[in-house]
Each structure stands twice: as structure tokens, then as C-alpha cells.
Amino acid sequence: MAATTKSRFRNLVPGAVLVCIFFGAAVLSFFYTPFDVEKFNIAQRMLRPDAVHWLGTDHFGRDILSMLMVGARTSLAVAFVAVSIGIVVGVPLGLMAASYRGRWLDELIMRGNDLVFAFPALVIAIMITAVFGPSAVNAIIAIGIFNIPVFARLTRGAALGIWNREFILAARVAGKNSVRISVEHILPNILNLLIVQGTIQFSLGILAEAGLSYVGLGAQPPTPSWGRMLADSQTLTNLAPHLALFPGMVIVLSVLGLNLLGDGLRDWLDPRLRRE
């Protein structure tokens, strides 16, 4: 028993710690950053990491640690709102499709999902930003739209399995309509799946935001963003590798942290694993 407990938290703990660090840094950046990220200091540019600038300075003389902290804000906010869009729209669609399974509404919703899924996410994101102009808000919308079918499919698939169970039959006999059954009986039973998927989508959202910012379609300067820090430092890698190294590492670590957390949560929340 002790061994299984240990292995069940093997992913959860490091994942949770990493995610807490990034959320903590993002929240802290509202009150405090070591240096002002809007103030350029050309004379101090591209300094190597030292006691004053822990991670060095960028090509405009801004403190990289401060930039990463404020950039965490952008990344996490974009990913969080995008995943929320996916959940708020996708989950009800999935529940609806499951309760009307096999009928025209189910078909309509699921074929609509297939349609969105058929396009590569980045292409649609580029299209949206080309029409409405590049900004963090449009990046959120673009990433959010692509989270909708993910949650809709997951919800429908999981809900279909539960609709066949005896207690649902009991609820029906008791006179509950399908909306109440979906909310009161189906949703609580698939919540753990949604939480796990949400965490994974969150990490994909961070990657998508970094990718869009990298190609110049995400948050616009001067708002710091991890993806743009990478893009800006691209031609400078020969001179100052730390300019690209730190934002790159932060992106990797945050995605790794969220994936570990997602895996850990699945192990922890899965009732079959819990029973053992």
C-alpha cells in the first residue's frame, strides 16, 4: 500500500510544485518584479547572468527574470481563458450530444466538431489574427475555439458510457428530464476526466500561445511574452545564448509541469486505481 501511494504521487508532486512556481511568479509579477520591464537600458544590454540580473539582460537591457515573470502572466492568462472557453462551450455540447445520442442534434454537434478538428489549429489561428489583427485577445479566441471539440468529444464519449448505467435508469424512472440527469448524475461522474484533460489542454495552450507569439501573432510588444522573447533572440543566439535559453527552458518546464500534474491527477482521481 505504501509503495502504491508513493508511485501514485510520483508525477503529482513535482508537477504540482512546478505549476505552483509558475502561477506564483505570475501572481507575484503584479506586485513586484526585480526590474521594470518597460524601461529599456541599451547600455546594459545582453549582460550575462550575475548577482544583479540573475538571468542576465536581453538585447534592450531589460532584466530577463522580470520579463519571464510578466511573460508567465501572459502565457497563463491566455491558456487559462482559452481552456475555460473550451470547457464552458465544449462540455454542454458534449452532454447534449450524449443525451440525444444517435439523433440529428448529436450528428450536428459531432460533425461540427469534426469540421473544426479537420483544420490544423495554427492555420485557423493565423486566419483569425489576419482578419482581426494580432493581439493576445485574438490568440485566446483562436486557441479557445480549438479546445471546444476536444472537450465536446471527451464529454460525449464518457457520458455515453454512463447513460447505460442502472442509476441513470433509476433517475429516469424518478421522472428527471435529460438536462437534470446530465447535470446531476453524468457531470459529477466525468469531472475527473475533465480536470485531467483541462490540465493537458492548459499545457497545449501555453505552447500554442508561445507559437503564435513566436510568429508575431500573439501578444504585441511591449507586452512581454515567452514566444516573442524566443523570436527576438533568434538572431542573437551566437552572441548571447542565454537570451533564447531561459525563455525556452521556461516553456519546456511549464509544459512538463502541467503534463506531470495531469498524469498525477489522473492517477489520483481514477476510482479504479484508488480502489486498489
Partner: protein, 493 residues
């Protein structure tokens, strides 16, 4: 044994010498950041067109030398008559177009009439505005009758926009250019490269290169990699100044710093609400720390300017003192104009590093004096559409690379929307003036006027940062016009 070594070494030495004698390369690959939209310099404004065709494929009556001087080209000599209102050009005999057609005075008349005609799409139509009539005297003599005396005529005719075309092939110049130059157009792989080959029937001195390839690499990182790998032999306008120290230290390359005609300016829309107030424009000029922009965006490569004028021109005067870096004064002026901490301007940035990086630096400097900017990164096509044609902008950063182009401030409807009758009068008087001393005085007046009206924020003169294989000789050191003249280029071994 000793003898054996001698034989071997002499054989080796001979092989080495003989291969060396034949090893001097006769082809060159040049890197360019932008691909030309077409190849007709008389029908497009893009600098990249001239960078391929000027002096290589097409020639005009006169041409620029690498030092900016105006030299004879298809016209071997000229006489100025009637107090400067009539120029008689003697054309070179025996010149042939690449398709074999003879070059005659009729071609000159055709080309100039085409360029200045009603439905001409020439990007620099103003260059020809003063020509009243092109008169063919005989096959090899042509006269230009002018409306007014014009001291700029020979200079104007040296521009890429004034090259001479053959009536038979003029219409297909955009894709299959036929000129009189030392190179013939050979191949264009869209999105990748343009190849030109030596014209063996060239009228002038034969060129050393047999073939030249212009390769288009817009990404600075890829440009660096291409140089390092030897995929391109030279990058006459190397796009990433940050790599220059490293390339300079590499014995395989030589880095040549020269001057260009590129006045890099923070253009302001003089008719937008806040910027129509000169105090606001002056405040912006004082808010900018030019040296920080040069260091931060160009890694120190660039000369500060105080007006729209190249520092290497003899008539240049240093006006940087009109817009010293003084944030306090800038704040005071904004306060007086009623815009303190209450002004948001759009700042549209085209792709080059001077604009994208420079723009972020300027945005941060403007923030210091209480002006907010909304940065928008645009591609060149968008820039031409929105800023240059649509005038839908407040601020933008761009390098004006045409030679001696202060006259653009007198143009109606130019995108700065500067409108000053005194200046317009000065420029039209300058265009008529032929006396060098009075022209010099007028140029100085013009520089002072745009500087003191704070039409734009004057940042720096773009440096020509050329990188080339150190065995290449004869590339232009400076850039008096947009060109990659290959006539004098050869490999040494």
C-alpha cells in the same frame, strides 16, 4: 631519396600552381533580403528591382559611379545649350540590346516618352516632369528640350527609373528584361533566385564574371547560416548587424562598412490630429535618444542625422542639435500642447531590424515622456497599402534609400503629408537652378527647413554593412543608389 622528394614536391607544386591558375571563380552568388516583385525598374518602386538589374542588365544615358558621381553610360558625351534648357546627347554607336536589336536615338525617345507619358506607371515620374520634348536629331544624337533650366537632369537620368528599353521588348521587361548591360537575364526561380549571365556582345569593357545568382534570404538567421556554409558568396546589405563582429573576426570574410542614401526616419503623419501640432512633433523629436536607437537596433552601425540629408553629401549640415535628447523639454512641450499623459499614437513597423527593434526602443522612450504607442508589426505589402498609400498611421519607421531625395517633402500627397508652400517654392527653384553654389545654398536651406519644422523624427543614416568572401573584389563599398553593380567584380586567387 632526396631527388625523389624533389620530383614529388615539384610535381605537387606544379599541380598546385596550375589548378590555382584556373581556379579563380567566374560565378558569384549574392544574397539579398528581399525578392523583387518584377524586374522592370521603370514600372515599380521596389529597391530590390534596381538591386538586380541596375547597371547589370539595364543602362541609362548616364549612370551612378560607386562614389555617387554621375558618369556617362549610353550617352558618351553631351552639350548643354540655351542656358541649360536643351541637352544634346551623343549616343554610343554599336550598342546592341540583348536580343540583337540596335540601340538608337529612337529607343531613347521611346523610353523617356514612355516614362513621362500620361499612363506611365513609373514610380519616379517627377524625375521627368521638366522634359518638354525628346527630339531625335539622327540615329546617334538626341536632344532633350526642357521647360525650365534643370541642374538635376543628368542626375535624374542616372536613376534606375530612367533606363533605356527597346520598344520591341519593353512590355515584357517585368519578367524577361532585355537591356544593353554587361549581363543578360537568364532565369528566375520565384521565391528563390534570379540568375544572370555575361553578355559577350557588350559595348564596354568585358566583365570578369560569367554568371551571377541573386539569392533571396529574408530571415537574418538563415542569411548568417548561408554565409557560413558558403551558399552565398556575398551579402551586399547584410540584414543582421549583430553578427558583424563575428563575421569580421572570420578570415574567410571581409566586412565592409560604407554609406548609403538611407535616411532612417520616424515618419510622422503631419495631418493626423495630434501630430498636426508642431509642438507635439518637436516633443517627439526631443524624446528620442538617437544613440540608444543606433546601439540597440543597429549595434552601433549608423550615423545620427538631424534632417533628411546624407552626411557624406558635400552640402550636408549637421542639424542634430535641433532635436537633442531632452525628455524634460519634451514633457514641457507636450504639456503646452495639452497632450501630457494623454496621447496614444499608432506605430506601424515594417520588417527590417532597424524598424522592428528601433520601434520598440522608440516606444519605450516615448513612454518616458508620457506618450503611449500601439505597436503594429506589418509586412511590406501591408506597409505600402496602409501607410504609404492609405496614410492610415501616426508614426512609422522607414529608411528612405533614394539618393538626394529631400524633394519628396515638396510632393503633393506624400505620406508624411507635409504641406509648406515656402518649401515647395524652394524645391521648384532648386530644380531650375544650375549654378552649383546657389544649389548648395538651397540644399542647406531645405535641410534646415524640414529640420526646424520637425516634419519627422530624424534618426540615423543607414550604414551599408556588406559581407563578402574575402577573395571577392570590386563590390561597391558605398551605396549611392540601390544597386549591386557587378561590372567590376572579380575573384582573386
Amino acid at each position: 631519396m632526396k631527388r625523389f622528394i624533389q620530383v614529388i614536391s615539384s610535381v605537387l607544386l606544379m599541380t598546385f600552381l596550375s589548378t590555382a591558375a584556373f581556379a579563380a571563380k567566374t560565378d558569384i552568388t549574392l544574397g539579398m533580403a528581399l525578392e523583387p516583385p518584377n524586374l522592370d525598374p521603370t514600372g515599380g518602386a521596389a529597391a530590390a528591382i534596381d538591386e538586380v538589374v541596375y547597371a547589370n542588365i539595364f543602362e541609362g544615358l548616364t549612370r551612378f559611379g560607386s562614389d555617387g558621381s554621375v558618369n556617362p553610360a549610353l550617352a558618351s558625351a553631351w552639350d548643354i545649350e540655351n542656358d541649360g534648357t536643351r541637352y544634346v546627347f551623343n549616343l554610343r554607336p554599336g550598342v546592341k540590346f540583348h536580343d540583337g536589336a540596335e540601340f538608337t536615338a529612337e529607343d531613347v525617345k521611346f523610353s523617356l516618352d514612355r516614362a513621362r507619358g500620361e499612363d506611365s506607371t513609373n514610380a519616379q515620374k517627377a524625375l521627368f516632369a521638366n522634359i518638354a520634348e525628346v527630339e531625335v536629331i539622327d540615329d546617334h544624337t538626341v536632344a532633350l528640350n526642357l521647360t525650365n533650366a534643370d541642374g538635376n537632369l543628368l542626375f535624374n537620368l542616372a536613376w534606375g527609373d530612367a533606363i533605356i528599353l527597346d520598344p520591341a521588348s519593353a512590355d515584357k521587361a517585368a519578367t524577361d528584361p532585355v537591356g544593353t548591360g554587361p549581363f543578360k537575364f537568364s532565369n528566375w526561380v520565384q521565391g528563390d533566385r534570379i540568375e544572370i549571365v555575361r553578355n559577350d556582345d557588350y559595348w564596354g569593357e568585358s566583365v570578369a564574371l560569367e554568371k551571377a545568382t541573386f539569392k533571396f534570404i529574408s530571415d537574418p538567421t538563415a542569411a548568417f547560416a548561408a554565409l557560413m556554409a558558403g551558399d552565398v558568396d556575398a551579402f551586399p546589405n547584410y540584414p543582421a548587424p549583430e553578427n558583424l563582429p563575428q563575421l569580421e573576426a572570420d578570415p574567410r570574410f571581409s566586412v565592409v562598412l560604407g554609406s548609403t542614401e538611407g535616411e532612417t526616419i520616424l515618419s510622422m503623419n503631419n495631418k493626423s490630429e495630434a501630430l498636426s501640432d508642431m509642438r507635439v512633433r518637436e516633443a517627439i523629436s526631443h524624446a528620442i535618444d538617437r544613440q540608444a536607437v543606433i546601439d540597440g537596433a543597429m549595434f552601433g552601425y549608423g550615423t545620427p542625422i538631424g534632417s533628411h540629408f546624407a552626411p557624406h553629401h558635400p552640402s550636408y549640415i549637421d542639424l542634430t542639435g535641433n532635436a537633442t535628447f531632452d525628455p524634460e523639454a519634451a514633457r514641457a512641450m507636450l504639456k503646452e500642447a495639452g497632450y501630457i499623459d494623454d496621447l496614444t499614437l499608432s506605430l506601424k513597423l515594417p520588417p527590417p531590424a532597424y524598424a522592428r527593434r528601433g520601434g520598440e526602443i522608440i516606444a519605450s522612450q516615448l513612454r518616458e515622456v508620457g506618450i503611449d504607442t500601439e505597436i503594429e508589426n506589418v509586412e511590406w505589402a501591408q506597409w505600402l497599402e496602409q501607410v504609404f498609400k492609405g496614410k492610415d498611421y501616426d508614426l512609422t519607421i522607414v529608411s528612405h534609400t533614394e539618393p538626394l531625395d529631400i524633394g519628396i517633402y515638396a510632393r503633393d500627397d506624400y505620406y508624411f503629408q507635409y504641406d509648406n508652400d515656402d518649401f515647395n517654392g524652394l524645391i521648384s527653384a532648386f530644380n531650375k537652378e544650375t549654378d552649383p553654389e546657389r544649389r548648395d545654398v538651397m540644399l542647406k536651406q531645405a535641410q534646415t527647413m524640414v529640420s526646424e519644422d520637425y516634419v519627422n523624427g530624424y534618426l540615423f543614416q543607414l550604414a551599408k554593412t556588406g559581407v563578402a568572401n574575402s577573395k571577392i573584389n570590386g563590390l561597391w563599398e558605398n551605396q549611392p543608389t540601390q544597386a549591386n553593380d557587378l561590372t567590376g567584380v572579380y575573384w582573386s586567387e
